[in-house]
Amino acid sequence: MELSKHNNDAELEIKKSTVLNSGWSAKARIDAFERLAKSGLPTVRDEYWKYTNPKTLTNKIVEKASLLPEHESDIFKSVSPLKIVFVDGKFSPEKSDEFILSGLSIERLDTIKKLDLHWAKELYGRYEKLGQLSVSRPLAAYNTAYANEGLIIHVTDRVECPINIIYEHEDEYSDVILHHVIKIDSNAELTLLESGAAAARLNQVLEVEVNEDAKFNHIRVLGRDHERRAATHIFGELSRGSTLKSFTLTVNGILTRNECFLNIAGDDAMAHISGACVGDGDFHHDDTVFVTHDAVGSESRQVFKKVLRNGATGVFQGKILVKPDAQKTDGYQISQSLLLDEDSQFLAKPELEIYADDVACSHGSTSGAIDEDALFYLTSRGISKPVAIDMLTMAFLAEAVDEIDNYNLKDVILELLSGWLERRR
């Protein structure tokens, strides 16, 4: 209808005709489309979106996102990663390194999606679909159905050199869908770094399969672009003895929803998800995490810290589900906010659902202001109030940053954080 053109409230179109219907991924895409058609796009009336209004993520019209004067592309240069650059979701061969790294293969969804056969057929959409069993995640289904670009990575060995996917944002109205698939073979290891704001609006899915005794380290830094909007999903499956660690640093962002759904399917596996964020003004940041323990002796940690000021909003929805046979599970969840003024708010919904009887699970959620006694102590030693507040802010965030094992990467994050705080004084 002609009217819808001018209707600012019109939603993204969900049409079967635009779903890619050939190649190895067609079945997964059509399957995802069916799920999406059934659930519809999310609205603020959905329980799972109670604290975060998805309207600007589901609107047909993309809100404008102003650009930063310069890209912050080399955040991780001190660890000399293999760089892969996407500009507004489009792969940039000029800015990227060659995809040559011993112990893994990297392909692009765009170049292989038309093939009839590909190993990724087994994975693409598989863990996303699994993640829909507990709660419907329509934006992820939308992504699986319509994604044209992303990286398809197969790790066969311990890869020491990290891969850094760098996202650059040059178009104020770009609307980007990216779908990455990573398969890590038994005993193999990968460190994936992601940095930058990908687009004015990003819908991203990362599906990762961590096989026996394999390791996946993931660190991402969502760039300083404030007006961008992003909905990201990580879907992971962990086999016996494997490890997944994911840390996200967020500074700025008018709307960010980071969902993480992990299924611990093998015994003695370990999943750590953490995040630190600093938000100001019309900042809205939502971490929604769901960890399922479906094996014996596994461990999970969720550590999320948010510093909020000038009316910023932080959301945490975190769940640990322990299935009946998942004995000896060790689950830990903490979400905390430091509210630097009375206008900011932190909305938390921590949940534990436990069906096994021999488990150790704990969760905690707090909101607090700067400790005035500590502030006075620091200033009484000659440290100015803004510097003292930054020191206490960094101290507050430290527990989340400490989740990063690699000292070099931890230093990168700490330096970024202190630099950002300093600039805001």
Partner: protein, 251 residues
Amino acid sequence: MLKINNLHVSLEDEDKEILKGVDLTVDAGTVHAIMGPNGSGKSTLSYVLSGKEGYNVTDGSVELNGDNIMDLEPEERAALGLFLAFQYPIEIPGVGNMTFLRTALNAQRKARGEDEISATDFLRLVREKAATLKIDSDMLKRPVNVGFSGGEKKRNEILQMAMLEPKICILDETDSGLDVDAMKLVANGVNALRNEGRGFLVITHYQRLLDHIKPDVVHIMADGKIIKSGGPELALEVENNGYSDLLDEAS
């Protein structure tokens, strides 16, 4: 050096006057002790001097080397050379003791227009001062006061004082919670800092600290005022007879 003149202070939250006209002058090179019963206003005086929020100064003035400091922020007072050794040093998880010390020292130097201390000079200085206070490298690496025993916290206060080299040192019940050996260690740390350019204001309940840190003048504070001043013998009198005689005398 420190000149307190008719200082009246009430609590910000309630209409309650705590200090009711304190007059006190500490000259450079002297040690003044303030003794007094609980609730006499000793700790309030130390907080008000160092700039803690929550108090209203309703009358009077405080000068440090001629500068009126009552309108200054705590960090500005610190840069002018005022230091408070806390009765209860604050634990600050996540902030390393060394980082804290270096940030504080450099902030003060910067405020005075001096160059920042180099990392190596700082390290040498802090190790040297820490050794005399029997503070090991593990304590220096730990977060500020976190997991420190009562004695370690007080020694850490004296270490900060030694590093920052203030002009006027206020010690608020530094002896509380210390055993005899720890008290000697702390007192030695303080005595090492005594010199003709520096003044001390030592707040204590008990005479025993003053056996180790010999005061030049002893003041008795009660109900927000200094009711009697005298030499070291005044502290002994309190030790032997308690405060009641002095209080009766005053009223």
